[in-house]
Amino acid sequence: MTQLEQLRTAGYDFLIDIVGMDWGPDEGLGVIYYLARSYDVADTISVKAVAEGGRENPSLPSVSSLWDVAQVYEREVHDFFGITFSGNPDLRRLFLRGDWVGFPLRKDYDPSVNHVPHTDETFREMDGEGLFAGDKYVVNFGPQHPAMHGVLHLRVSLDGEIVRRVDPHFGYIHRGVEKMCESYTYPQILHLTDRLDYLSGAIDRHGFCLACEQALQTEAPPRAVVVRTIFDELTRIASHLLGWGSMCMDMGAVTAFIYAMRDREKIMDIFEETAGGRLMVNYSVIGGLASDIHPNFQRRVREFIPYMRKMLREHHLLFTGNPIARGRMHGVGKLSLEKAISLGVTGPAGRASGWVNDLREVAPYAAYGQVEFKQKIRTGGETFDRYIIRLEEIESSLHIIEQLIDNIPDGSYAEKTKAVVRLPEGDFFQRVENARGQFGIHITSKGDKTPYRVKFRSPSMVLVGALKQIAPENKVADLIMLGGSLDYVIPCIDR
């Protein structure tokens, strides 16, 4: 704890992730903290802490006073491993129901004790000690709500139509991916990474391949590196289009959604032709690509770039200049730079607050080192900044693709890997910039063909933390818009 305090004073103000660990009966339970400096997010440091009190009452001091985001990360570790964080005010279960028995990510967890429940979870079980005790009017949003972008459950305390407090409630799509990874081989896990943040599936999968390649000390051939980068950027455009469309729909503009989906279909066509899948491209594999690109790929992408530029102008004409939309977005939901860093809000939302955190520029991976690319930064931190930065990023993604599409190197598309992939012993951490922020992959390997522990850092989880921060004192109608402007993907949060 003192060590972490010192690091915090030394400028490590960005807590990337807290990875809960079960090192087995000898070493006990504990966590790994990943830290970085906000002005240099490439420079990371990890701190390992072993919990005291054995397996019965494991406990650690809380770091939620140093980093705001630690509060929710500690809740997650508590939920999965049963570690108590002394000093954390709110240690309810995060994903699982209040009546869940046991801690699923411990190695000695017995899955046969929990069955499909037949009754709804009561408010008391969600609440603990009456979180909303003094509030008069508490409204449920979700989990079945069209504007929630998935199965997020928000409980909102209202005063008239002004939001006073928001309590997000996760877990309605918690599939236990991290536990499943422990029994799957590395090539099998690849199929699960696509399905976390399905809108940036190709990017997440790319990240996992990079983590494995880093551990195996191999590199994908140059052709694969460039094609992967193009796929990532196309995925990002598709994701931002959908994010833009659904945000506009949240504000009542259904036409914008139809326009966004129309352009997205063009990208889906390109994906389908080369990779065989529309939404789930399943294209990167450890050591390269699953197959070579389709002969039409380059021509199609070349045709897509001017088309998308033209349509982007149309999108601006349709919605950006609309006085009603501008009026609603300006001055609403300000997220300050300090809060964005403390909450770990990476990606477009963080960059809209002025935080230089795009890994493509500050810690280039894949082919991003070869291209001219400057990340988009805005300083307002308001809803409009978060809205416009997505459209600007579509433009910069097109610029990246433009530089790469004519320069795809010849050669093989995949490195030969062994039939059974075994990672060497050790901990590996890899981050990639997906459409919502920094997606992190932590792998602990013991040298087997299956990993000992896999943890994914979800950029969407911190975005919901940001919603909790910016929603109070706004109107309830704007709560939906704020959610749209943050553009979170719930299955990535719940994993």
Partner: protein, 191 residues
């Protein structure tokens, strides 16, 4: 054959559909005790209307929901088939299309949504997760297919299924609705 007349889908011949045997068996079951000519033709008329204006509930938990969005957008446009609009309240919906994984915590919610829908109601399980747990079958927190919770009429496999596949599944449900006797709807199975 009489059945082919009643399950007519525009521009697609009866023979081109899969699972015709299922439908024939279903009709035979429904007509076991004989049919009333007047009521049957009245049923046919109403079913013609019913099957062409089925409104789905938006129930999307994960990935497949994005294909649902594609399906409702301009290229695939399910409004062409009279499925028109999706409803956000179960009380106004005719069919619940289960897109995506259903987990333990969501199971009671799905059951409650189903219970809130008005009869006659239908369920489509879309995507491998909704059919049988899909890639998450071995998880500790995933329901092994929605049939554990609610009865399913049509399954559409895929991970995620293409919008065309979902449209085909919708047509199959339309055919099923067309042969039903409005005055004697089948009992809801006990689970």
């Amino acid at each position: 054959m009489e059945i082919s007349r009643r399950t007519k889908i525009k521009n697609i011949p009866y023979e081109e559909f899969n699972d015709n045997e299922y439908l024939e068996k279903y009709v035979a079951e429904l007509q076991q005790n004989g049919t009333n000519v007047i009521l049957t033709s009245f049923s046919d008329l109403i079913n013609w209307g019913r099957s062409n204006s089925v409104w789905p509930l938006t129930f999307a938990t994960s990935c497949c929901g994005i294909e649902f969005m594609s399906m409702s957008a301009a290229r695939y446009d399910f409004s062409r088939f009279g499925w028109e609009v999706y409803r956000n309240s179960p009380r106004q919906a005719d069919v619940i299309m289960v897109f995506g994984t259903v987990v333990h915590k969501m199971a009671p919610v799905l059951k409650r949504l189903y219970d809130q829908m008005a009869e006659p109601k239908y369920v489509m399980a879309i995507g491998s997760c909704a059919i049988g747990g899909g890639p998450f079958k071995s998880s500790y927190h995933v329901v092994q297919g929605v049939e554990e919770i609610i009865p399913v009429d049509v399954f559409v496999p895929g991970c995620p299924p293409r919008p065309d596949a979902i449209l085909y599944g919708m047509m199959q449900l339309e055919r099923k609705i067309k042969v039903q006797n409005l005055f004697k709807l089948p009992d809801q199975p006990k689970l």
